[in-house]
Amino acid sequence: MKSIELLGKGEEMHGRAYIKLNVNELEEAIKKLKENGFNHFVMLSCIDWLDKGKFELVYHMWNYEEKEHAMLSIDIDRNNAVMKSMSHIFPQIETYEREVHEMYGIKFEGNTRLTPFLLENWPHDPPMRKDFDSKKFVRQMYESIPFIEGEENEGI
């Protein structure tokens, strides 16, 4: 596959190129792929590996000529979740970084728009982290709000 040839490492996975990179290699790799036809940044996804203690960030890119999907994967420390922003290469990464910041609590240095995105006034832990107990939260939050029972068939 073209992206594996370009970067000199990685493996083919279900017809896509999966390339494991170190954090400091990522910027160069994205730039190189962008220059060589991977001009569509598809999305930025994040996986929480609770037992390994790290977050995996996956940068998906697409090449229209080769019809090739490249996934650039990096690992960052779960307890010190800080990453350099890539929004200067593809501007649309900014929005994905906002979402990942909100859902996983990863801070992106250089992104100035890490404001609340989908959740408003969210005071708790980021909800997509594996140690966030969604069922318990639902019980404590939504189930505890009382029903408002008026008298039967009443009016003013």
Binding site: L118, L119, E120, N121, W122, P123, H124, P127, F132, S134, K135, K136, F137, V138, R139, Q140, M141, Y142, E143, S144, I145, P146, F147, I148, G150, N153, E154, G155, I156
Partner: protein, 191 residues
């Protein structure tokens, strides 16, 4: 001397009965379709099921509408907008909640950002169960709502006025995702 008080009440009753008769035959709705179920509305309004023969038309703004039809799940963020829309409507106003997500959360029962019971935040006159309900279900619900209006039982808007502070308190809690301290401890033990 004026009318006797009882007569006045009678006359008021008669007038409101007439008003209800007119109101039930001309239900203008504004449909709030952010979650899902918006696709069920076009067949209801167009040639296939033709809701206009019951006097049901869809209106462009909440000011002109009588019925708020909420389809599908509501996140906390959309609930805020729903309440704005509801408060802009002019009473008598009715709410129909559509789909099982508005009843108890449906398939989003354990989601962190989806409200579970719509009637904790705004008064709901009628639920349509199902995921998704068919257009027949919607028309059936409207006919049931007409019956309720005729009998004077669709009084959600009066309930909202009467218990306004309690509704507001519930809304404030869910908007700020506020968990009470005693709730935290109690549930932790149970867990």
């Amino acid at each position: 001397m004026g009318l006797h008080n009882g007569d006045k009440m009678m006359r008021y009753e008669e007038w409101s009965k007439l008003a209800r008769k007119a109101s039930k035959k001309s239900l203008w709705m504004v449909h709030f379709c952010t979650g899902c179920g918006a696709v069920e509305m076009p067949p209801v309004m167009t040639s296939r099921y033709d809701a206009e023969r019951f006097g049901i038309t869809s209106m462009a703004t909440p000011r002109q509408a009588d019925v708020l039809l909420i389809t599908g799940y509501l996140t906390v963020k959309t609930l805020r907008r729903v309440i704005q829309v509801y408060e802009q409507m002019q009473s008598p106003k009715y709410v129909i909640a559509f789909g099982s997500c508005t009843i108890n959360g449906g398939m989003y029962w354990d989601s962190y950002n989806t409200i579970k019971h719509l009637e904790k935040y705004i008064p709901v006159d009628l639920y349509i169960a199902g995921c998704m309900p068919r257009p027949e279900g919607i028309i059936n619900a409207f006919i049931k709502l007409m019956k309720l209006i005729d009998e004077g039982k669709a009084r959600g808007w009066e309930k909202y006025q009467k218990y306004y502070d309690r509704y507001k308190e519930n809304q404030r809690r869910v908007f700020n995702f506020e968990i009470k301290e005693e709730q935290k401890e109690e549930k932790n033990e149970e867990h």
